[in-house]
Amino acid sequence: MKRQARFELDEKTLMLIDDMVDAERNYLAERARQAELEGHDPEPVRRISSRRHFLAAAATGLVGAGMLPKIVQAKAPPGAMERPVPADAAKVLGTPTGDDAGYGSRSQFESEVRWRFPTPTKESSWTMTPLDGSLGIITPSGLHFERHHGGIATIDPHKHFLYVHGMVERPRKYSMADLKRMPSISRTHMIECSGNGLTEWTKPTLKTAQGTHGLTSTSEWTGVPMSLIMQDVGVKPGAKWVIVEGADAAVMTRSLPLEKMYEDAFLAYGQNGEAIRPEQGYPLRMNTPGWEGNTSMKHIRRIEITDVPYQTREETSKYSDLMANGKARQFTFVMEAKSVITFPSGEMKLPGPGFYEVTGLAWSGRGKVTKVEVSANGGQTWAEAQLQDPVLPICHTRFRLPWYWDGKPAVLQSRSTDETGYLQPTIKQLTDVRGTNGPIASIYHLNGIQSWAVAANGSVTNVHQY
């Protein structure tokens, strides 16, 4: 399925999408094959995973092409430890306390992993969160989606400093200890890559919710408000922008409006109760709530206060939205209201008519989700779903709705409304305004309604229905 290489930028992206389709197909085929080995339905209702999948895969050496990390070759799935499984756990003593050396791991029977988008280099690449298996609103730190532009930096926090300079009264160099001494806050926010769903603009392409929506994740982040830093350095009159810079090999820079620093941006050193993971920018990252993920600069080492945007590569040639008229929107930061049904979703199979709980995630970069509606007939009629409390602003919001499936073909959709009154649009409503400048249109900021078709045999597939 390799496209003829024409070596053009967006041809390259298209080739990546082809590779992703191939990789996802291989992953699903491998999953089905392993399930067959175990003698159960190759398309489980939920993705109930088994350590035996991995043992079988390791034994035969037939792990799906590049989709599963190397660690799969070990006895236990990533993040788990191999333990002997007794016939009756009530009849033998379990693992000694402290046998994990003090840091726990997940069950060896759980094997959900991030998928790596098969970019040519592993240093400039991204992985997607398995949303279809998600429970509640928090993404485990080890499943938080990733985007790297120059590999995952390994940084000694004792040698990491944050420089704040430019149009300020008091330029500062802060150590991590300095930052941790400051007044701190914790916020539970989603971060979404503005490229989330880029394969889905003009036709249904990837099969699973992980593929179509896996570039969004939610963590509790802890750190220092940027407004405090701004006050500490004393911003000079005339300053309007800040340039933020990472300490990884991409040395990435973005220009951000100064006002965001006063409004709600913060520097995070904590994630879900512990230090942020290396993949998320250890030891320090920016968090710009509700804005495209690229602006939450990882491994941040420098903030320059200035008067104009610097027009960096990432805010001109990338992360700009090319319209049909040839003009590109720039500095489109906000991630608009969006939602996706995670169960049932693509590649699952309902065993038969009857009761199901339809559930999914909704979010908005502009604040709280106030309403999520679900349709089982492709958007002709809608029913309001229940939202899991507490509903937090700029955060994944879990919705649930009981559904009795009559066994006839159905198209499941969800749409969210946020506190500004904005209603999640259809994909067509978006392309009617933005045009379709090529197969992946304007690439970024697709927040259209996702459709999952349920066939009479219970199988669920990604479709476009407006």
Partner: protein, 198 residues
């Protein structure tokens, strides 16, 4: 100021922050201009000029651009040694490696879902300073930050000349780089018009 007064001020600051949390479950906006009214924390140190000199970022007006210079001919050597393996001998890009750097003019106006636009330095990038900044910052991919400033000027000149944006004899330096007229310099509309669907 007595120690007691200090404690009181600190306590007042904390109270102000806490009061701000009343209206939403995660706390309101964190505007310390009103929540905190104390003096600077005096944490950290003042960075030296030498420390700050290792950093750079160049806006379109070219302020801060370093000394050094380069042209097409010098850039050709740099390109062939450091860039070509990923970006191709004609800057056309290499499948599975670097992006195309030239071509694509006239492909941006397009509403065809089957025909991709071709976004390159030549067709899409609005500022030459961004090209210089990015090469100096992050290229070559496997050895970022390894080029001298003159090599970066030269590589930039080569890419721009191959894209027919400047002439092969033009010299790029701190004065000339910001004056380069990129073909798509008017192609970007700042500001966010969304929501598109109301």
């Amino acid at each position: 100021m007595s120690i007691n007064t200090r404690k009181l001020l600190v306590a007042a600051g904390v109270a102000a922050v806490a009061a701000g949390c009343a209206t939403n479950p995660q706390g309101t906006h964190l505007d310390m201009r009103t929540a905190y009214n104390g003096a600077p924390l005096n944490f950290g140190t003042t960075p030296t000029a030498a420390e700050l000199s290792k950093f750079f970022s160049y806006p379109p007006d070219g302020r801060g651009l370093p000394a050094g210079s380069g042209n097409w001919e010098q850039g050709k050597k740099v390109y062939e040694q450091k860039c070509q393996v990923c970006h191709g001998d004609k800057l056309q890009g290499v499948a599975g490696m670097g992006e195309a750097l030239n071509g694509g003019r006239g492909t941006l106006v397009n509403n065809d879902p089957k025909k991709p636009p071709m976004k390159t330095v030549e067709s899409y990038w609005p500022y030459a300073t961004s090209v210089f900044d990015f090469i100096k910052r992050a290229m070559p991919f496997n050895a970022p930050g390894s080029l001298t400033d003159s090599e970066v000027y030269a590589a930039t000149a080569y890419v721009l000349a191959q894209g027919n944006i400047i002439g092969k004899t033009e010299v790029l330096n701190a004065q000339t780089l910001p004056k380069v007229n990129m073909p798509n310099k008017d192609g970007f509309v700042p500001g966010d018009p969304r929501p598109d669907v109301k």
